[in-house]
Amino acid sequence: MDEYEDDEFDGPVKKFMFVNRKAPYGTVYALEGLEVVLIAAAFDQDVSMVFADDGVFQIKKDQETSGINMKNFSPTFRALEGYDVEKVYAEKESLEARGLSEDDLVIPVEVLSSSELAELMDTQEVVITF
C-alpha cells in the first residue's frame, strides 16, 4: 500500500529541452510535441521549451480554427505554468524573419538570440526536437 500513497516522482531528474520548430496545423508535430512536454513536466523533469523557426507560429495570438475543423490547441500553452514549466523561450531571429514580436504571442516568453540559444542547448542533458 505504501508505495501508492506518495504520488511524487522520485526517479532521476534530467534537464530536458524541447525545441518546437513546426507551424501548428500543417503537421501533427506541434500538438504531439506539446503533449510530450506536459508528460515530461508531470514526471517533475527540469523542462525548457523553445520556439524557433516556424515553431514560433504555434504561440501566435488570435488563432481561430473553427473554419478548418481542427482543435485550437494554443490555449493549452497557458497551462504550462500550472505544470511548473517556466523556462519558455522564443528565438529572436525566428520572430523577426516572420514579422512577429513578443506582443503577438499567447504566452510570455524569454526572447533569446541564436547564439544564446546555442549556449543554453549546450547545458541540456536531453534535447528533443519536434
Partner: protein
C-alpha cells in the same frame, strides 16, 4: 488558358512557393492554402517573393487558414485577395486546371 497554382507549405520551411512562382506565368493565379498562407504576411523575409509579382499574377489566400493561424489581425501583402471555400471552388472552375505544389 491560365493555371491555378496552389501552395500549401510555409515559405520559411520549404521552397514550394519559390518553385511555383518561378514557373507561374503572368495571368495565372496562386492560391495560398494551409501553411502556405504564412507567405501572405507583410514584413517578413518571404514578403518580396509575392509582392514582386502582384502586378502580373493573381494572388489569393484561403481565409479559414489565415484565421486558424491567428493571422487575421496581422497586415497582409497588398494585392492578395482572401477567399472562402466557396471562392476556392469558383477559382477551380475559372482557371483551366489546378497545379498543386505539394
Amino acid at each position: 488558358m491560365a493555371l491555378l497554382h496552389t501552395v500549401n507549405k510555409s515559405p520559411f520551411e520549404r521552397n514550394a512557393l519559390s518553385d511555383c512562382l518561378r514557373r507561374a506565368k503572368d495571368g495565372s493565379a496562386v492560391l495560398l492554402i494551409e501553411d502556405g498562407v504564412y507567405a501572405a504576411l507583410e514584413g517578413t523575409f518571404a514578403t518580396d517573393e509575392i509582392s514582386s509579382r502582384t502586378g502580373s499574377v493573381n494572388f489569393f489566400a484561403l481565409a479559414p487558414d489565415i484565421e486558424a493561424r491567428g493571422l487575421g489581425n496581422k497586415p497582409l501583402i497588398d494585392g492578395i485577395t482572401l477567399v472562402d471555400y466557396g471562392g476556392f471552388v469558383d477559382l477551380v472552375e475559372e482557371y483551366s486546371s489546378v497545379q498543386s505544389w505539394l
